[in-house]
């Protein structure tokens, strides 16, 4: 089951990845591995909407948070590995790159892909999240002057 969990992790990472970062990293990888781009379509990129559902805590009832636009595609490498790409937004090339990364993660090149694409991508996205969290934390107000009623 760990193989499946691994795949879940990188699919999740790719789904949330910013277009520009994945493009830069994929082009870096492809430059070193000519021909990595070649594939046949199983499902050409298509744009659609999905309902995002949420749940408060572990006990709340599921509710519909709202719709978001998603682009998906499925492709097959010359070696037979199948990759699926599901990404936010309407960028078909972005979905293609995500599917290519997924497919190449199942080949002998998985180490190279992880080193050149997935790890830097994760790092960049974590930095973005942390920066945003830090900026938000800086605006936090501590109500330490409030009278607590001890005296």
């Amino acid at each position: 089951m760990t193989a499946q969990n691994d795949r879940k992790v990188w699919m999740s990472l790719l789904a949330k990845s910013p277009v520009t970062d994945l493009k830069r990293l994929w082009e870096g990888f492809e430059g070193a591995q000519p021909g990595a781009q070649s594939h046949v379509w199983l499902r050409a990129p298509e744009i659609g909407g999905v309902m995002v559902r949420g749940r408060t805590g572990a006990t709340g009832a599921p509710f519909n948070l709202g719709e978001m636009t998603v682009t998906r595609c499925s492709l097959k490498l010359p070696g037979g590995e199948v990759g699926h790409g599901y990404v936010q937004g309407r960028d078909k090339d972005h979905a293609t790159r995500a599917a290519l990364v997924d497919a190449h993660m199942q080949t002998a090149q998985s180490e190279a892909i992880r080193r050149d694409v997935l790890d830097p991508l994760e790092e960049t996205m974590r930095e973005t999240t942390e920066t945003r969290a830090r900026k938000a934390a800086a605006t936090k107000v501590d109500f330490f002057t409030l009278v607590r009623g001890e005296d």
Partner: protein, 198 residues
Amino acid sequence: MHGHTQDTAYLEGGFQDAPVDAARAFRSAMSAMARPGQIERLDTAAPPSPLSSAAGTLLLTLADPETGVCLAGAHDTAAMRAWLAFHTGAPIVAAGQAHFAVGTWDALMPLSQFSVGTSEYPDRSATLIVEMEDLRGEGVHLRGPGIKTTAALNLPDAEAMRANNAQFPLGLDFFLTCGARVAALPRSTQVSTLAEAG
């Protein structure tokens, strides 16, 4: 999510250019339904055996997550279910809830298990895709809307089709498929055997 080494044959055989392929296939299916007895060509899809190319193309064009599909007899295979799920998202349902049913004539029997619609909503009926060994424009004579003089088809069971027509405006609609060819028999078509026609 599937394992890495799983057989992925079911992912293939869909439309290569879905909007264009589906529009062309829809036009052929509509022409076939509008002109009962006329044989059209439908060969865009390459579905898993035993589904014919014409029946596969019809399902890719017409089925979606809101239309239940019933796979009858030998057509109910794991490969078929997986192929249909990946390419159309259509749920597999029992005959009574089916919007579309596919199988050989014998596997689809009895016809009474399929919905013929209601007086208020005659459109809530099933469309049957009948896989045929052979499809020829001869045999049983057809008359009715869409047929200028007369048309003919080698129907699997003329008597059942006549009974179906008698229920009009309720009833089932049929696509008859054989390899890459398809003909249609809507519920409005009147069926008469050769003896009567002569």
